[in-house]
Every structure is written in C-alpha cells, then in structure tokens.
Point group: C2
Chain length 538, copies 2
Amino acid sequence: MMQVPLTVGSMLEHAEKFFAKKQVISQTHDQLHRLTYKEIGERTRRLMGVLKGLGINHGDRVGTLAWNHHRHLEIYFAAPGIGSVLHTINIRLSPEHIIYIINHAEDKILFIDEDILPLIEKVADQLKTVEAFVVMTDKSELPTSSLQPLYSYEELLRSGNPATEFIKDIDENDPAGMCYTSATTGKPKGVVYSHRGIVLHSFALGLTDSAGLSESDISMPVVPQFHVNAWGIPFASTWLGTTQVLPGPRFTPKRLAEFIEREKVTITAGVPTIWLGLLRELEQGDYDTSSLRAILCGGSAAPRGLIKTFESKYNIPFIHAYGATETTPIVTVSRLKSYQQSLGEEEKLDQRSKQGLLVPGLEMKIMGSDGEVKWDGLEMGELLVRGPWIASEYYNDDRTANAFQDGWFHTGDVVTVDEEGVIKIVDRTKDLIKSGGEWISSVDLENALMAHDAVFEASVVAIPDPEWQERPVACVVLNEGFSDKVSKDELQNFLKPQFAKWWLPDDILFFDEIPKTSVGKFLKRELREQVKAHYKMS
Amino acid sequence: MMQVPLTVGSMLEHAEKFFAKKQVISQTHDQLHRLTYKEIGERTRRLMGVLKGLGINHGDRVGTLAWNHHRHLEIYFAAPGIGSVLHTINIRLSPEHIIYIINHAEDKILFIDEDILPLIEKVADQLKTVEAFVVMTDKSELPTSSLQPLYSYEELLRSGNPATEFIKDIDENDPAGMCYTSATTGKPKGVVYSHRGIVLHSFALGLTDSAGLSESDISMPVVPQFHVNAWGIPFASTWLGTTQVLPGPRFTPKRLAEFIEREKVTITAGVPTIWLGLLRELEQGDYDTSSLRAILCGGSAAPRGLIKTFESKYNIPFIHAYGATETTPIVTVSRLKSYQQSLGEEEKLDQRSKQGLLVPGLEMKIMGSDGEVKWDGLEMGELLVRGPWIASEYYNDDRTANAFQDGWFHTGDVVTVDEEGVIKIVDRTKDLIKSGGEWISSVDLENALMAHDAVFEASVVAIPDPEWQERPVACVVLNEGFSDKVSKDELQNFLKPQFAKWWLPDDILFFDEIPKTSVGKFLKRELREQVKAHYKMS
C-alpha cells in the first residue's frame, strides 16, 4: 500500500474540495459569522502563510486562549498544517497555571480572544518564550494593550498567501496538538496529540455506532475548543463536511437553546453541567429542539435522571460517552446493542446510564486488586486503555511513570464491566470511600441523590473515621424553590431502599454551590476541605 | 501517542470480546451454520495454532479457493493473525491463470472448498510451492482425492490450540492479504494489502456517509470473498459487530432473496449482474425485502434504470460505489449531499447514478490531455487516486510502472467530475471510442440502451473505420419475451433524442449473451473480436 501519512491538514483540504459550500456558523464577541469551508480553507491557508512569515517553524508551539469560533477552528488546521503544534490553553485556569503551561510548552506565539487580553497582559512579563501576540477581534482597530508585538488576526490574514500548501511530507507521528489537563492537584500535565491520533480519532467519531457524524449533521460542540480539542468534534466535522455551529464566548443556556432551534442543530456535545443548565432553560422557554438527534455527554458521569428527562420529556436522545484529555478523548460510547432494544424502558435506561462500549481501535483492561476483574458488573477495578489515540506520556513530566505503565494508560477511574463489555464508572481511584475494608462508590450515591426531584447537584466525599477508616458525607445543592423544603431525613429515606445500610452517607450537608474544576468537574479535594472545616476536623 | 500498530487480528479480537453473542450465518455445501463471534474467535485461534503447526511462518502466503462462508472468514483473520498473508484466489479464472497465480504468489498451503477440489487436482502437478492442501467440508470423512497431503479443516481445528494469540508486535505496513486482478489481457496482476490498509479501509466502511456499517446491521456480501476481500465487508462487519450472512457456494438469486427475507438482511453488496438477477427473482416471487436499508453496487456502473426500479418499485435504497482491486476497494460512494435532497426526483436519480464522492482518507486527481480537468461534469480525464489503502505496486510485476506513477494509482477509468466533486465514469481508457478526433463514451450509450424496457444488457465497442478512425457498434441482449419483438430501428430511435448524431452506434447487433470476465464485467476485448468476425473484418 502507499505510504501516505495521515495528516490533520488533509482533513480540511478534503472539506475545501468536496464540501466547499457547507458552512461554519460562528459566534464571536460582536457578530455572527457564516463562512463556507471554501472560505475557511482559504483563510486557513492565508494563516499558514502568516505563521511561516512570523517565523513559526516545524514543531514550534502555537498557543490559543480562545472560545469556540471560526478563527479558533482555522488555527486548529493552520498550526498542524505547517507542521507546528496547536496548543489550546484552558482559559479558566489560574494565572499561575496559565503561566506555567505557556512556559512549559514553550509557546512561541499566542492567539488571544479580545476579552482574554487582560488576563494575559497581567502575566506577560512572566512568559519566557512568547515572541508575538495576535488578538482575534472583529473590530478594525487594535485594542489598546501593553502586549508587544500585538497583531490583528484579520489584518494578518489579508497579508497571508492564500495558495500556501498544507504540509504533506511529514511523519504522521509528529505532534499536531497539545492540551494540558486541569489537574486537581499539582501543576497541569501536558498531553501531545499526533497527526495520526487525531485522524484516527476522527474516523472513530464518524462511525455510525459512535457519534456517527455525517455530512447531513449540524454539530455544535459546546465543550470548549480549549478542552481536548472540543472532543475532536471540529476536526471530524470539518473532514466529514458537517455544518458546524460554534457558540462563541461566554455563551448562556439561552444562547445554546436559540442556536439549536434556529440552526437546526442535530448533534451537540458537552459536560453534564451544561445539560443541567440547558434543561432549566428548556423548562422556562418554548424552544423547538426537534432537530437534535443526539446530545453527547461526557467529562463526568451524567445523572440517570438527566438522561431520562431529556429523552422522555424532550424526546432528545442523550448519549453517554467517556474519555479523558489523555485519550483524544473518545474511549467509550453508550448505545444499546440491537438485541437490547427489547429490554424494558428502565433496564434500557440503566444500561445507557453506564459509560458504554469501547470504540473500535482501542483496547481496555480492568485491573482489580487480584488482576483483571470479572465481567459481571460488580467487581471494581481501574480502567486501563491502549491504542493509537491514547497518549504515551505527559510532556516532559516525571508524573508519566505513574500513569503510563507497560504500554497502558492508567485512567485513575474505577469501573465495573458487565457481560456485554459495557463499563460503568464507579469512582476515581482517589475518591473511592474505603469503609471497614469495603469500597463505597461516591458516584453511585451522587447519581442516586441527583435522581431526587429536589436535588440539582450532589457530591459525596469521604471523611476520616476512627472506627471505619472512612465514611461518606453527601454535599447537596437543591433546585431553585426547594431550599428549606427538603430535609436531610427525606433524602436519607430516599436513599435507604437503594443501598446497603453501610453505604448510606453519615450526613447530608446543603450547599449553595459545589466547587468545580475549570472544566466543570466536582473539585472533591476542595470540597473535602470544606466538609472537614464544617466538622472542625483537621 | 502510543505506537500501537493497526492489525487485522485486533478486529476479530474486538468482536470476540464486545460482540460475543452476535452471529455469523453461513451457508456451506451441506448445511446452514450459525456461529457466534465468540465461536468464530475460538475457531480462528485454533486455526492459527494449526497454521503454525503446519510450518506457516511470518510472511508466508496462505491461499484460499473458496466461496463466501464462515471458514473462509476464519482464514481471513487467522492468516494475518499469525503474520502470514491471506491470498484469496479467484476460482472463476482459467486453470492457466490459477496455476500462474499460485506459483507467482508462492502459496505454501491451499484451503479449498469441496466442489473446487477437482479443479486443483487437475493442476496440482504444476504447483511449485504448495506443501499442503486443506479441504473445507462439513463431512466427517475426507473426500477421495489425489492431492497430497490433504487435511480436513474441521479435523485440523480440533487439534488447534484455542488460546493461540493474535500477533500484535508487527509493522502495520506488513502484508496481510493479497488478491490478483482478473486482467482482461495478459497474466493476472497481484495486489498486496497491508494490515494498516485493511484497518483504515474498515474505518472508512463504518463511516455513516459511506456504507455506515453498524452493530445493528445484518450484512450479506454477495461479492465473492475471493474478489477484493468481498470489498472488505467481512473485515469491517466483524470489527463493528455486524451480523453477517455469508451466502455460500453457487448461490442463486432465489437463495439471495430468501436470505434477505428470512435473516432480515439490512445491507448487501455486489456487482450489477447480481442485482439484475435479483430483480428478475423479485418480479417472479413474493419476497419481503423491507429490512434492506442499502444495496451497495460496484464493480461496474449500474444502469440508471436498475437503480430506479429498486428504489421506486421495491423501496430499496440502491447505493452506487466505485473501487478496484488496487484500492481495497472503496474509493467513492454515491449519496446525495444534504442540500441536494430538494432536487427533483429525476435530478436526484441522475446524481445518484454517478459513482459518487471520494471517501475521507483518499485523494483524487483527474487528468485530461492538458492537465487536471475542470470540475464541470463535462471534461473527461483519467481518474488517479492516492491514499493509505491504495496499492503502490503490482506484486513482483513490471506492469507496475504503467499504473503507478509519481505516487498516484492510474485507474484506467475515464471520468468526469461535477462541481460537487462527484465523479462519473464514462469509460475505460482503452474502451473509449475515438471518432473523428472526438471521444464517445461507450458506457453512456450502454446505460441509455439498458434503460429501454426490452434490453437486458448492452455493451458498446469500437470497430475500425477508415474515415472516422473508430465507430461505435452496440451489442444487445434482450429481456426474455422480447426477442424478435424489438428492431434495430426502434432502439436507434430510442437513442436519437439523447445523443449527438455522431455518437449514435453505426449498428446494433443482438446477442444471446455478452462475454464477461470472471467477476461479471463485460469482456470487451472478446466482444470486439466477435463483432469484427461478424463483419468479417480482420
């Protein structure tokens, strides 16, 4: 067979040629843009010329601090398109972490959204490798800024050569992108994505049984483009000619609902928090969401009740998926097998609430204390994964040795696997509650609590216990209108029939808000401190 | 990212684990088998143990002379599963060509269907490298045969170790399979498929916009497993957990129709001749074909009328595709783009009668006499393709230099491409008719003739002409009941409004049968000789 490398640039080239008329609909600060793939292609080629002109060479890192919009999409292809590396930076991290990340990745240039400029201005003097800043604005004038040199994206583009070619003659294992995980402890850890990994992952997203992205879809990635490449959806959507809706900066649930209705979005993707917010919006407004064929939900486990509400009340198929920054990210997708369609509604929902089936192209292994666990849906073990879109290391980081062993990525997620091969996350290895020598899944308790009508969010953490070693405490945020109307006892009684007695939380605390990571996951380390402070534990 | 090679064996391993209960339904000479992927997996592992025991080493060629059935499927995975090479041999070739192929590929072992044994017995003394023969039979006794040594497949399997592991630590560019093209002139030419190529091609088949194979499908490849791996459908179906129906030896249209009805086949694939036959059967019998979501048709261009009849009369979506032995084979699939759904029915049919859109992962180029042709649907040029599942050479064959140039495979097919990027085959480079310095497409004339109710098949060839250099003559087979009821003039008058006057055939000859290649394509070289003989030309 021909030795043709899989390259990120070739995906946009395909769209330019075969889906020239299809559109990217992009919300920026000031306006809604509609560009065809032909235009996106030409602009990307111009940008590649610009990058070369600014001295960006093979392997150099191109940093972005940006929301989901077409300019960000253009950098997705332009940076790897000249052999440099797209480095998406999580704008929700602390300034310290952002400084660390930019210096650690040695970014040579930063592309920054207008509203994020102040954040970078404050830390600019601590950035050691950045040689140029580009602001992505719709305005014709550059904003006043202390950043030097500062360029306007659109002005640069006008000077770029629209005939610049995508690099073809590269090793497909060369880096194309990178992203740092928002670690809950310590410094963020860098993950490098290869051209090969991104292309194979895009194939996986196009499979009918995973996301099934197609030309006839209208996809709206709500998951940020600075978070694992918006789960790779912009790459795959471009390649497959899918119309894309990029919802822009600081979107609200209302804007998302309006986009779904107006642009007839067929598939969207994001974390549970987003869908909880959308649900509230749908309950308040009158939106036509009938175009949606799938909400992809990942990042953390979606409560069973959330899935049920979307499907039964709004008739929107809700598809649970699982992955991580280290896995590009797709690892499993939860769909019923054909012969499971005859199960009862509740059984089907139980099955679909799990994280799902491994996508083709990957391998998995679930390691309990005595080797691989039984596929019985009961035994718990850590999920290990392997495959061509799984990272092999953290970038220049000695924490690699912990997570990557013997050719497997140790996810840190504790799962069960049933006889169908479907995994269910029961906890993070570090969040499991060890009570009297047995394990209690904080996630199971959280999901059960979140199925209660009054509960908006629930997070369960361990507190030290002299007798049992650890005991669970539940932290609950109530839905609007329910405060003071629901007691601890009521929630305890709600849990009782569902769990063994020793699983029940020792206490239930009510919170206005549960601390979260920058990507919306419960920040249990912080929560544990708050709970311990509440009990005046040290 | 991890350096994990793409391997054929890993695809069956995925099915064994995650689709253990799904079935392969297989017709052999004596019975209908139903095996689960778990069983297929175990049997394949046993077979791998057997192959090793018989001295088959890395890179050795394992020949098959067999129909579509589960044992053939097991060899599909077992041969590459131990690092050796699956070599499927076209049983419809002449004995001379079969001898040539086996000697040229240096097959070390042959797996043979019971009814094909006599063919091999006759030529066995001319096979230079074969060390063992295995007969695939349901019977417990070995058939009487002069082949030595001759083993029984099922007996060998009983002795094989079911814990044999699929090889993992290989270069994904290593050969996994090979197939010889049934050349119309000269010796057959060998094409080698790599592990990488087969896996990437399987991804392409799983994309929603190509075949969209999924777990919920029931696929029936009618295209022979000895012909470009049955278009790769058994590989992709296994990987994706699709139920497979393998229709076995010497099937009839009746058996196909019965399988579709009884097994609720959702997708099937084959050449136009098969579907012409199935159409006749459907017209005679009363079959429920409502399970079918797609007939994939390739190998040669399907007449527009055939597509129309399947869709309008039987409500069966008919999907045109294009490929070649050298391309694993999928290159294009003909589906409407979303914005073409609003076209009129006839326009849609026109569009879908074309060969379609390039699948993601490949590149194409259409070269006319003055460089790349315009995408106007008019200019004709030769189709060149490139990509990771396109062959880079013919195996040990100096005809490589003609077909593979500058990194592109020259298909020998003359096409037009419209502004949507959709290609339409207008001819083979060698079958184009050059009349008065202009080109006439034999395929266009054939399709027009085959749209006439009376015409079953039509093939148009060039005859030498002193004035115009070449002129077209049409050779027509009439449908049953139409002989002597349709005149040349009627057919000429039917064509007149559709073509420029100089395109019209000089003559129309009626035939009982049109000579075909072993895979059902018109054998124009032979037909031209018959036509010339008819006119007593030399």
